[in-house]
Assembly symmetry: D2
Homo-oligomer: 356 residues x 4
């Protein structure tokens, strides 16, 4: 099913950008977990739109209301349903997109798929807003994973051609990941922040947008997790990752760079360290044969520039089948990369909790 | 489950490199399909090891025997089971890997996962040999897809740093894909063949290996196929692709390049052509919001260099927990990229047939 | 997952008897369906508790609020989420059951399963109240099925040993089913109504309860629906039926009676009628080899007497591990059979819509 | 998928009565299990056709050949595939059934479902022969369950109206179940054996067949197993049970009898015995709210008389659409109940191992 993920910790996301509410049901959540709602709220605020230059002006408090599955703050084993009200929709903005599909948006594909009955307002359930319930479910999963010593953290690896440093794939650890996630604008090298913000602001002033790359690491994964073939860690993470709108690529370990190496350069020798078996290098990104090796899991994802831009664009009127110029008004992030960082962490948590 | 894929056209792959046989069961195959066994055999021979410089000397005839699901050459609606005998195993070669995991192989991860009971011979069911039944199932799926006008084709986009041309993402068509798949060494620009073969031969003589990139295209996909969120075309293809050993990354459309573009450069304007709605460019790789747009699907995957190399490597003896030098003897492809090309096509077919 | 059902029209039920709300998400509902909310409401009112002798006094308006998946009354292809508020809970009634599991209730099993964290209030998500969202989802499914000419109807076959007539398994049709579902107390032979009501009232006055049997028929099913072995019509219906609390048995066609017949008595000869192939008798209940034969589907389910009775009962105090007398106070149906009738229809609709 | 069952210990059954072979793949079998092939063989021989009065004369050695997933007799974590050759088919017998569907057989339904491409020979993959690989997989599951102290046993509860005793639902234990499964003709009260055999022989001489009831018990199940709603123990067992051809009903605990009882009669009081919580009676059949209570699981299934009988029957010629008399020749069990007993145990094991 399209909006469900996972077999053991199964989530089903519902809602559209402008429906009465959006939310998620988690079926398979263990009983007896005391939810840290403050931590969950803090995590979700990393995704929430703010007042800074790079995010939409839409005001969302995005506080999820838990309507089932929890008694006195503790999970009871029944499915947990969390609902987030939609308060601040401007539905009128979107009526014209019914016949004028926005370039590189889901509008056209959804129109064909649903015979024109798709909810066009705000992108319907293709909206980036649907990542809010994903983040809620991911935050719950992360809490459970952290109790097992598993930590997930991501940062902006690149925006508009300006690159951050990368995680050291061998030495990255939970402290490094924790400090990254404290940051309002998660970079390893804060020195590039100004340059990136300038690029984003330039795009915004041009009525344009910019893309980027996010890098994610997972530490504390024991060896032996994941199944071979179709249920490996790479299969599961990539299936989850492409649920985030605007992701167009994923690479694990040294990824596409491995294509240019020789085996002797790319292979990671096994070594003993602190009586544990590790690898000297970590080109494999913590995954061998689809299964964890106990080294940090490392992957990067490509985020396309926001397709909603203020600049005039050409499209086709679906009714008249003629070319037409389209002006998209309203508020749109000139860069969604920073807000996508917690989304990447969240769906990674959902993928991993189902493998453990 | 690890070795199963798909909900409607569900395959379950079984076997190990050195078990009595390997094979696949296809549950959900429609009744009434006359299997073109000659075409299937031809497709499988593209994956089979040969006598050329870049592939293992292991002799496999790899002719699948269909033991159920087909009556007089026509499917009867019951699950189709195809079995391939393992004839030419040299099981003695592998005994030492039990305690000496090969770098960047699944040995160590599988050892931990299965408490040392994993079949170490030839990599067990992590072996590249397991792609043979995947290719059989994929060939069956491709036959069904081709009857619907859907054509899948892939080529070597890069080996050892030497690049082929890429598909034109707008004009690629079924004729181009058909002609590529006729080639023994599938390149768009045959002019780079000699250079690539030289690189592979150099690596082989050095006891080393090389990696590469494969590009795949799908033409004839109608618009509106795929589900939003977790069951989109990208989710499904990537989940299937990472079942092929040695794949470390996947990107759709212009992939990681989109990260450096502005929205105005990356967006694909809609146009009308032959009374049909298309896009002027195809940076989106035929997929918008997880759903097909009717433009060709385009993606590339990164293939790491064969981890089995003749050069001495360092590993850890799992029994003594001390460093030890490892010499891998036997036959191993210095480059698996050419043989992985039909595998990419096959699993793509499996992903798509489950979405249609 | 425990609270999810179906692969194509997948429902996930959430909530507990005394949580803030209960509800259901339907993932996979086609776009473009105009929901007949009046009909859905009427169907749900058949399950709702009333003021009659045989049902609880708990007042529920049970009007579902649709918070996603519908735009202007028409489904948009996104998951449909319907929420029913819980207004009239008396949570104090239940605190003592934490340590005093009610005989033949889920209390004890749920306590062990969830380590004592299960929501004990009103039976938590084991409550009969959870059939309200099931009925909502079933009513939506029935609307879609009815557009295809498929009609589902059930009646009270027996309560407290007093039997109604049975459907004629050959001649039952959609008109008969429609007229049954109009009835407040669905019997074929209304002549036994008074006798049954008397039996229920006697049990109520004794602080006791009674059980019964429900018979369900489905007309208009084309032949050839269902899959052999594990996904047949019987497998699917029975998996769905046992989601209704208090069901302890199911039989298709002539069911357990077939055990006493000879093949020559039990076999249903094929005949031609109106140019269609039918069977002369219908002992097979419309299902052969797990697949529909085009004859009416017929099955009966056994409903145990409500386990919550006013009479004193013996149980064990889980804390002290000593025997203790238990008095269950509060409102409980002396007979749940009438209210279970629409529940049986609803889950049957859910099973069938996933097979079509 | 129709021929697959289970999420963790997933089996896929393949083959047709007259295909080259039949078999099963088990995906998800843990590594490190030493298969007791002698025990498995003994179990399978209980299902195999013999030379006694009540079973077909078809000679099957039915020895499964394990072609993957096992190394030196121990599972290696890869999918286990077992294949049973079909040696003794008489395919000519069946050609006429293509147009003359046998009453109360799957022929007609399968013909419609598969557009006439279904394998008609011997009932194709609807054949009772397909229970052989189910029994193999079940025997493997039973071995794993027995190591956890869980024991499954079934007996003939009734054949041709002659009843055996029933299990005492409170005191039945693993020793009783073990002794039952030793018997060639599994009855609790061997005194009724002759009477039953006479009834079967009478039916055979009349060219007819008889049905019956099988009762199954499971001991040693810990409390708390199973999920509420759609994944409870009853849901899982019933979904599995209806995969056995000829089963038309299932009831748990006291089953349909509960319909005639009052709550005070039907409820099972909790008691303490040997410091464990049990119930005084076991009308609930070991399952409360879909979850095990630690009491023995008890259920009964109705088996219809073999539909293949020698007596002339009326059917319809699908080509001419006219009534035609049908004479079924060849070998057919006058009663399949005894051979269905191990099948019931096997699929129960498959259902339970997926819940644990």
């Amino acid at each position: 099913m399209s909006c469900s993920f996972g077999e053991k910790f199964r989530i089903t996301v519902f809602g559209q950008s402008h429906s009465e509410a959006i939310g998620v049901v988690i079926d398979g959540i263990p009983a007896g977990i005391k939810l840290d709602m403050e931590k969950i709220g803090k995590f979700m605020s990393r995704r929430a739109p703010g007042n800074n230059a790079y995010s939409t002006k839409r005001k969302e408090d995005d506080i999820p209301s838990i309507i089932s599955g929890v008694v006195d703050g503790i999970t009871c084993g029944a499915p947990l349903c969390a609902v987030i009200k939609n308060n601040d929709q401007h539905s009128k903005d979107y009526s014209k997109f019914r016949n004028l599909p926005r370039p590189s948006h889901s509008d056209f594909a959804a129109h064909i798929k649903h015979n024109g009955f798709n909810d066009i307002r705000g992108g319907g359930n293709f909206s980036g807003r649907m990542t809010a319930p994903m983040c809620f479910a991911g935050a719950v999963a992360m809490q459970i994973l952290e109790e097992k010593g598993i930590r997930i953290g991501a940062h902006i690896e690149k925006i508009a051609g300006v690159s951050d440093s990368r995680f050291d794939p061998v030495s990255v650890n939970s402290d490094i990941l924790a400090s990254i996630s404290e940051k309002n604008f998660p970079l390893i090298d804060d020195g590039v922040k100004e340059k990136i913000l300038t690029k984003i602001e330039e795009a915004r002033l041009d009525g344009d947008s910019v893309g980027g790359v996010i890098e994610c690491a997972v530490t504390g994964m024991p060896a032996g997790i994941g199944e071979p073939m179709f249920e490996g860690v790479e299969n599961a993470i990539s299936q989850a990752i492409f649920a985030i709108p605007a992701i167009k690529g994923i690479e694990f370990g040294n990824g596409f760079d491995c294509a240019d190496l020789r085996g002797s350069e790319n292979n990671d020798s096994f070594i003993v360290e602190d009586d544990k078996i590790k690898t000297k290098t970590n080109n494999h990104g913590g995954i061998l044969g689809g299964i964890t090796s106990s080294m940090p899991i490392i992957f990067r994802v490509a985020v396309k520039p926001t397709p909603s831009i203020a600049k005039p664009q050409m499209t086709v009127n679906l009714e008249t089948m003629t070319a037409e110029e389209l002006i998209i008004e309203g508020r749109h992030d000139p860069c969604i990369v920073p807000r996508a960082v917690p989304c990447v962490e969240a769906v990674t948590a959902l993928a991993l909790i189902n493998l453990i």
